[in-house]
Symmetry: C2
DNA sequence: AATAAGTTTCACAAATTATTGAAAGTTAGA
DNA sequence: TCTAACTTTCAATAATTTGTGAAACTTATT
């Protein structure tokens, strides 16, 4: 397999994976294109290599920058903006976990807390089932949150070292 | 807040969360409806409570059963099928992790392995960048796989006990 | 200030995904 | 075996999400 084929397949697969995780295909594809490029690319490079419009490229690059997965790079003497992706996969994973925690777990915890105030006969079977379930999810979410925070703050070496050993 | 309101809000929120994770809204809503119901429900109950068609209900219930999140329950003397959800959140999380690993991580690893066979000048900058990135993702995916396997096999108590303490 | 290079926005179009509902298929019991 | 209760399928349709591209906007340079 030559480089171009391999890149194309990687971009394709990464795009599919992304879309299964609620990230749009183009965003994932731009990310993977930047991941496998040795040098920073311009908006035009991206447009050309992925056959995607300028507007779409711009929006998704902006989103990637928002997530911290991509950086603007300024090349001295050039007017154009260049973009490059964080290549350290551990950092990438960490950034994604952080973003998703912030955008999804945190709001869910907020809702769960409001739901605790459900009133009614505590002996009623339905009320009991509901309160039980919500309480359990809240506990789980709380632990998940703590665990994520720790992982996010952890150094890569720590993860690859003691953490993995623990799971052998 | 009364029970009905609380249930409705829970179902709504769970549905949104699901859709951010590539699970369709109705499937997530049916799951949450069953999660907070004291007793098993029939297809008709679900249709009525979520205002969803028979076909849609059937398809999504089947998918939930497929994932192992919902069970058919047969009530003696009744012809209808009843459905109930696994209420233990740790088990729910475990089942979901397992399904997603199987459906997404495993295929990605397969692709990554194929991509290792990229040929070309190993001193070429682009080839190097590509091989580097793919190799790193492969390593990461391998470790993630191991970790997930261990978590999936682990007992709840083990998780809530030593695992969490480690992260304090 | 004028110009040109570069970036962003947004109404509309295209593509994708979910839902409906009626018809076909099953199954338990008479 | 027949039939009525119940479940499943799937082609058509609706809803949602994503992408386009030209116009508006911004900024650097002369």
């Amino acid at each position: 397999m030559n480089l171009e084929e391999a890149k194309a397949q990687f971009i394709q697969s990464w795009g599919i994976l992304g879309s299964q995780w609620g990230i749009n295909r183009t965003m994932a594809q731009i990310h993977s294109l930047l991941l496998v490029s040795a040098k920073p690319l311009t908006t035009e490079d991206i447009m050309e290599q992925l056959s995607v419009s300028r507007g779409n490229t711009n929006m998704n690059v902006r989103e990637l920058i928002d997530w911290g997965l991509v950086d603007k790079v300024i090349i001295p003497g050039e007017r154009k903006e260049y973009f490059s992706a964080e290549k350290d996969i551990w950092k990438v994973a960490t950034l994604i976990m952080y973003q998703r925690k912030k955008r999804e777990l945190d709001p869910m915890v907020k809702v769960l807390n409001q739901l605790s105030t459900v009133d009614g006969d505590k002996k009623n079977e339905d009320v009991k089932a509901f309160v039980d379930t919500v309480t359990n999810i809240k506990k789980f979410a709380g632990q998940a949150e703590k665990t994520l925070d720790t992982i996010i703050k952890a150094e890569e070496n720590w993860f690859w070292g003691s953490f993995i050993k623990l799971f052998k």
